[in-house]
């Protein structure tokens, strides 16, 4: 009896300490319980790619406003919280950690495969070490196949079609374009750009062996302010078409330089629709010669998505660059509603294999084996608006028209992912 007292006291003291620690952690907890579910948006909001990061943030703000207006998730509102990763891998992890410290357990990021891999690995490790406090990573735009193959993670979900799927769509489209004879490849010199180049070489060889590759260029990411020397080289090569995975300022400046030099070739791109791209295409007078591959475009005849587009443009003066972002957030809300829980572990389980009617119409599915979203893809070309097309881009009077559609079965590339599922 006598020596049990200290034990009790010790227990009390321990309880007190725990309570104290809990009290210290209280500000975070109270925020988490205050009726909003917060999602950290970790992307460049300064530097050369800030234009893309900023437009993406506005896209997501509107997407969440729309979901919240319909009742949100689990009766709570969704909120996006911006974190600037300065297009730097180290800073990306610092910002993700900051978000987690702040009590946020859902991370979204898209710009830059290198940073996406860093987040995916960080989140996976964090979840191993902190059971019960799992964090989920929703990837809306980092498209290196490695994220759903060799480096796949249970906590990573990708809504964008990966490089392999996009290139499959481009080369499927090129099959019928017999006017394309000499191809020039120009890409950013890092994992993603090199991936685009390698896949282009491989798939063109399979589907259009007659196309001659007259140039194969890699340039530094987000460092070139004047692409004129590259354009001179493309011109000298005699190319009639260019394939590029460039994004952000690298695609806008590339086409701007083409405009200045009067280069008239076809551009088969991943991201010509990004900030500054449409203005440059109009300036270059490349009517219907610049193509982009994507999961949705404003002028697709589909009422629900066109209404959404109208609302976004009226409010934020930008077009929807991320239809996949709508799919992502709507599916997140559905997963939360279905599980009646904000626990990322339950959300992840609900997302896996989820079938969903995508933003621009058609069936999509979050493939369970590698967490790659399978969806219809479109090839669109940019030119003067046709009758009945409501949306132009960047006030150019030109807009995107659908030039081809690729069904999910045609981009159903196999995966090598061996996923470690939490027990």
């Amino acid at each position: 009896m006598k020596w049990q007292m200290p034990k009790k006291l010790f227990g009390l003291a321990a309880a007190g300490l725990v309570a104290g620690a809990g009290y210290l952690a209280l500000p975070q907890k109270s925020e988490a319980q205050s009726g909003t579910i917060r999602i950290a948006y970790v992307d460049p909001l300064s530097g050369p790619m800030a234009g893309i990061g900023d437009a993406g943030l506005k896209n997501f703000q509107y997407i969440l406003e729309e979901i919240n207006a319909k009742g949100g998730a689990n009766g709570k509102k969704l909120e996006i919280v911006p974190f600037d990763n300065k297009l730097n891998a180290q800073e990306t992890i610092v910002q993700v950690q900051k978000a987690i410290d702040d009590g946020i357990r859902i991370i979204t990021q898209g710009n830059g495969t290198a940073f996406a891999i860093a987040i995916s690995e960080f989140v996976t490790k964090y979840n191993e070490r902190n059971p019960g406090k799992e964090v989920i990573y929703l990837n809306y735009a980092a498209v290196d196949p490695i994220l759903t193959n060799a480096k796949c993670s249970y906590w990573h979900f990708r809504w964008d079609a990966n490089t392999e799927q996009k290139m499959a769509a481009i080369t499927a489209f090129l099959k019928d374009r017999k006017d394309v004879k000499k191809m020039y490849l120009i890409n950013q010199d890092y994992a993603f750009g090199q991936g685009v180049r390698d896949l282009a070489l491989k798939m063109l060889k399979e589907r259009r062996p007659d196309i001659e590759i007259v140039g194969n260029e890699l340039h530094p990411l987000a460092k070139i302010t004047d692409f004129a020397p590259y354009i001179a080289k493309i011109k000298a090569s005699g190319a009639d078409s260019v394939i590029t995975g460039n994004w952000g300022s690298d695609i806008a400046l590339l086409i701007k330089a083409a405009a200045d030099a009067g280069l008239q070739v076809n551009f088969f791109t991943f991201y010509a629709g990004g900030t500054g791209g449409p203005t440059a295409i109009k300036q270059a007078n490349l009517a219907n010669r610049v193509f982009a591959v994507g999961e949705g475009f404003a002028n697709i005849e589909h009422k629900a998505s066109q209404d959404f587009e109208k609302g976004l443009r009226a409010k934020y003066k930008v077009g929807l660059f991320y239809p996949r972002g709508v799919n992502q957030m709507r599916m997140l809300a559905e997963a939360i509603n279905k599980t009646k829980s904000e626990d990322p572990k339950k959300i992840a389980a609900a997302l896996e294999g989820m079938k969903f009617e995508v933003f621009n119409g058609g069936q999509g599915e979050m493939r369970a084996s590698d967490h790659q979203f399978m969806q219809p893809l479109y090839m669109a070309s940019f030119g003067p608006l046709k009758a009945g097309q409501p949306f132009d881009e960047e006030n150019t009077g030109w807009g995107w028209s659908i030039a081809g559609k690729v069904d999910p079965k045609d981009t159903d590339v196999p995966t090598t992912c061996k996923m470690n599922r939490p027990s």
Partner: protein, 315 residues
């Protein structure tokens, strides 16, 4: 091929002249104070943003005239009330001062104009193609930039070698005490040179900003290459800066235009297995290593000719 060479030469000379506008100011300031001005590229950026703002209010022509004047005035004030005080504490303090100044300018610009690129455009009266080389258009604005920077270069040479003010500046650079004894206000000369140097950088910014991208990281992109120019040219040498600017401009442009790699040079007699480091070395093109060539040049110059091409004192 001829087309590629002509266009690359034009592009390279233009890039070189822009580099020179900035490097000339930097090298003048160095010869005067013996300290590299880390904030120099920031005045280039400031010139671009001022140019953008004034062009919004008053049009392009006032912009390229007023932006350098404002930036130069600001530079002179910074020299008068900042650097001159710090000067007493030696070179390290001066260096740290300009280092801090670069951050202050960058943050201030971000506060005023934001972190996104601003919409600074080529004026419509210069937005056409000036001439055509074979089938490539050369934009009128680039021709304007080229002529404008050459005019400034000629004006600068005239100012420094043919006018009384220029003679006093030159004398102050090498023999400040003697010039002071002769009754000239040497500190005021220094202030004017600092103002002139920063306004030259601002001119470059005001005209280049419209052609390229005006955003708050443009100083960071350009800063390192400026130091390469002044070191390669020889610290304090205006002619050296001119030659080195053109050299680096042409070097970078022609590197991009070239597709040479070891594998092409040596033929296909030997090909390392794909995926190894050796394979990467074998197949990397000069175009890919183009961005690091100036720094390679920097290292070589420091090893073999520490005074730079035209310099007289050791770096």
């Amino acid at each position: 091929m001829a087309e590629l060479i002509i266009i690359s030469t034009l592009n390279g000379v233009l890039y070189g002249m822009l580099l020179f506008l900035m490097a000339s100011g930097l090298t003048l300031i160095f010869s005067m104070m013996g300290v590299l001005n880390f904030a120099h590229a920031s005045f280039y950026m400031l010139g671009a943003f001022l140019g953008f703002q004034i062009s919004q209010w008053a049009g392009f022509i006032p912009a390229i005239i007023l932006a350098p004047i404002i930036a130069g005035g600001l530079g002179a004030l910074i020299e008068r009330y900042g650097l001159r005080t710090v000067h007493k504490h030696g070179h390290v303090a001066e260096l740290l001062f300009t280092f801090g100044l670069a951050f202050i300018i960058e943050e201030t610009i971000q506060m005023i104009w934001g972190k996104l690129a601003v919409d600074y455009r080529v004026p419509s009266f210069l937005d056409f193609s000036a001439f055509t080389v074979y089938a490539t258009n050369y934009p009128a604005y680039k021709a304007f930039m080229l002529l404008f920077s050459i005019a400034i270069f000629v004006g600068l040479i005239f100012l420094l070698t043919r006018t009384r003010a220029g003679l006093i500046i030159q004398a102050s650079l090498t023999h400040p005490n003697m010039v002071g004894m002769l009754g000239h206000n040497v500190p005021r000369v220094f202030m004017m040179v600092f103002g002139l140097g920063t306004s030259l950088a601002a001119i470059a910014g005001a005209i280049a900003g419209a052609a390229f991208v005006t955003q708050s990281n443009m100083a960071a992109l350009l800063g390192p290459i400026l130091f390469v120019v002044v070191v390669v040219g020889g610290l304090g040498s205006l002619w050296g800066a001119f030659v080195a600017s053109l050299l680096i401009g042409l070097l970078q442009t022609f590197a991009i235009a070239s597709d040479w790699s070891l594998s092409k040079f040596l033929g296909s007699s030997y090909t390392p297995a794909s995926g190894t480091i050796l394979y990467d070395v074998w197949t990397v093109t000069i175009a890919q290593i183009g961005p690091i060539l100036p720094y390679l040049l920097l290292v070589l110059v420091l090893v073999f000719r520490p005074t730079g091409l035209f310099g007289t004192r050791d770096t």
